[in-house]
Subunit: 388 residues, 2 copies
């Protein structure tokens, strides 16, 4: 009855998590060209950083102070990050656990732990120093020298996205569902690795609390979660951009994943649905350009940030996530479309057209389970309704 | 483009969560007889309460102090409850939100929020005072006068259960996966309800921290999550007993669920697999008896508690969960068996036999992704291996 202390036959399993990530085509270089000398980013220069520091004007600065608090669900979610911040890092056990120093096995072990903790996707890459912030929002230099980054992805919920317009009152809560749930997993995973005798720190959305020391987009790219899309963020073939991620950085010896190629660059070149639908007109229609060391569609951070923060008909915005043809539930019909995008890219335009005709990207009011409410000086009101 | 402030057509949806709970047969009285005068329980008289207070002897008292800490995953998980404790309750908004006072709508809204937050099952019942502890572990009187209990159920993970024996090193972590995940959801839900202007408190596993003020088993029964099984706990037709639950108590006006009947009493009468397999011999083979106001199979709490706390070949125990024929993944074959148990109970014995032949209840080592490790005075060791 004594079971083995050692999961050596874990390698038998073809698919560790809910999505068949193992079946994707892995490539040596990301499908987005990256130059060799990317500069480290100052967190204060991020869209939200600039907004916090008043660089987008006083109205944006005033509105960002109630970014989560203006809607009662996202406001409730906002109680969580300060708690997680208390356990994001901690003491490392002085002795290393008697586990095999086999990076392949340890990666499969750590990914399985992530899936056990209910992550949707887990990927692993080396942590390049250019993906570490140079300074945080408070202007303090950031240091994070751990070798690996474990990326923990959580879906923002397909059904709720179906019921929403993408930029209505639930939008900020959709983001924080994924931020908080992935943070919850990251904190537990990091605490476990520290008990094995290796440093590990959880990085997650905590806004002014600076709980991210690392820039997530390049890590998603390097860890094989997806490709960079026209909207300037990473798109996963099974979730679209309908996710957020937290990260665990560590020195536990791990085997890394490689970037993926599922045909997105050619698809995004032709689709442009997000560019058409973006209420802030922040997503370009044109070709890719070199920007900050990446060859990408040149997304307008300022417009996007301002719109999300000052949206008066909702909280935040994820309309590009909502209308993207990759925003789909699981299902074999979508498996076929994914196969076509990869193997028959000449069909891309037709696929986008059929997607429109089928009604994808429209709001399905049967799935709207939440109330439209807005906090005005501590009192919840129905937005747009004149008050007594 | 302005969407409605009011989810009035939510009632259209036939199934709100991942499991077809809405299709079960709901009955006015639980299938377990309950007398009218159940006494409130003192938390110190619970199995774990008695162990804490030294009533099961010094070895049990010593071992309970390292119940979670002896294995590095459950130990990492143990960092979470103190954080949640800080936000389990809080200030209630002084003004009530402008939402319809429609209990049916509000129940569907709250359940949909729970499913959005990734709960597996959400059920609602009135909170009877006999389900509130009289005193907590510290000997302080407990008061909880809120009208309703929202029960949030989280699966302990089928695949991990497949890879385990049920009482090996991952067992305690399986429990805390569900305790912590449901607590995370309960804290967010309670914080949301307080913002709507109604009191709400999250109740969850925090051991000596007394984060539960309510007894979970009767609430699971009244909220229609399942029936009481031979092992003395509530069994859900889709998850078996492979779950734990947190609770939100509140005065938000809600419509309650009713108890369910899916044929379990007759099934458990014949099956006895858990009684055969229980390593503590805590589960009886005989008939139901009246005990503490419930007509139940008379489970031996002391044996079960002692075994879980002092298990030297693993951490905790969930062998009854593992071997139960209801411990199954989703799938139409299992839907058929569920139908047979309900409509053709004369087949129960045959079903149990086929379940055995099919190999259910056995450990499938391909799913064992964790290491066997044991903390000995702060140093992780391979259990059962003589140390240098």
């Amino acid at each position: 009855m004594q079971s083995r202390s050692y999961p050596e036959i874990l390698a038998d399993r073809k698919q560790l998590g809910p999505y068949p990530m193992e079946k994707l085509k892995y490539v040596d270089q990301p499908t987005t060209k990256i130059t060799d000398n990317i500069q480290r980013i100052d967190e204060r220069e991020h869209g939200f950083g600039q907004a916090f520091l008043g660089k987008f004007g006083p109205f944006v600065e005033k509105e960002i102070a109630r970014f989560c608090e203006k809607y009662p669900i996202s406001s409730a979610m906002w109680e969580m990050p300060p708690q997680f911040k208390l356990i994001a890092d901690g003491e490392v056990a002085p002795n290393k656990a008697p586990i095999p120093q086999d990076p392949e096995l340890l990666s499969r072990h750590i990914k399985s732990l992530g899936y056990f903790l209910r992550a949707d996707i887990v990927g692993i890459c080396r942590l390049p120093q250019w993906a570490v912030y140079s300074y945080n929002l408070k202007g303090n230099p950031v240091e994070c020298n751990q070798k690996f980054a474990i990326v923990i992805v959580i879906d923002q919920d397909y059904e709720t996205m179906k019921g929403s317009r993408g930029d209505d009152w639930i939008s900020c809560s959709q983001s924080f569902l994924s931020y908080n749930t992935s943070a919850f997993i990251a904190c537990t995973m990091a605490a476990y690795i520290r008990r094995l005798g290796y440093p590990a720190r959880a990085h997650f959305e905590g806004a002014t609390r600076s709980a991210y020391q690392v820039v997530v987009t390049p890590l998603l790219l390097l860890a094989g979660i997806g490709e960079i899309c026209r909207a300037g963020i990473v798109l996963n073939p099974f979730l679209g951009t309908r996710f957020k991620a937290s990260v665990v950085t560590t020195d536990l010896p791990l085997e890394t994943d490689k970037p993926v190629d599922f045909g997105l660059q050619e698809f995004c070149q032709k689709c442009m649905k997000c560019a058409h639908e973006c209420p802030a007109k922040a997503i370009p229609f044109g070709d890719k350009v070199m920007y900050n060391g990446y060859e990408v569609w040149r997304f307008d951070t300022e417009r996007c940030t301002k719109y999300r923060i000052t949206n008066q008909n909702g909280s935040a915005c994820g309309r590009c996530i909502k209308v993207c043809p990759w925003n789909k539930p699981e299902g074999w019909t979508h498996d076929i479309v994914r196969w076509m995008v990869k193997h028959a890219p000449f069909l891309d335009k037709l696929i986008v057209k059929v997607d429109d005709i089928w009604g994808y990207g429209k709001q399905d009011i049967r799935y709207k389970w939440w109330f439209d409410l807005e906090d005005a000086d501590g009192v919840l009101q129905i937005p747009g309704k004149s008050q007594d």
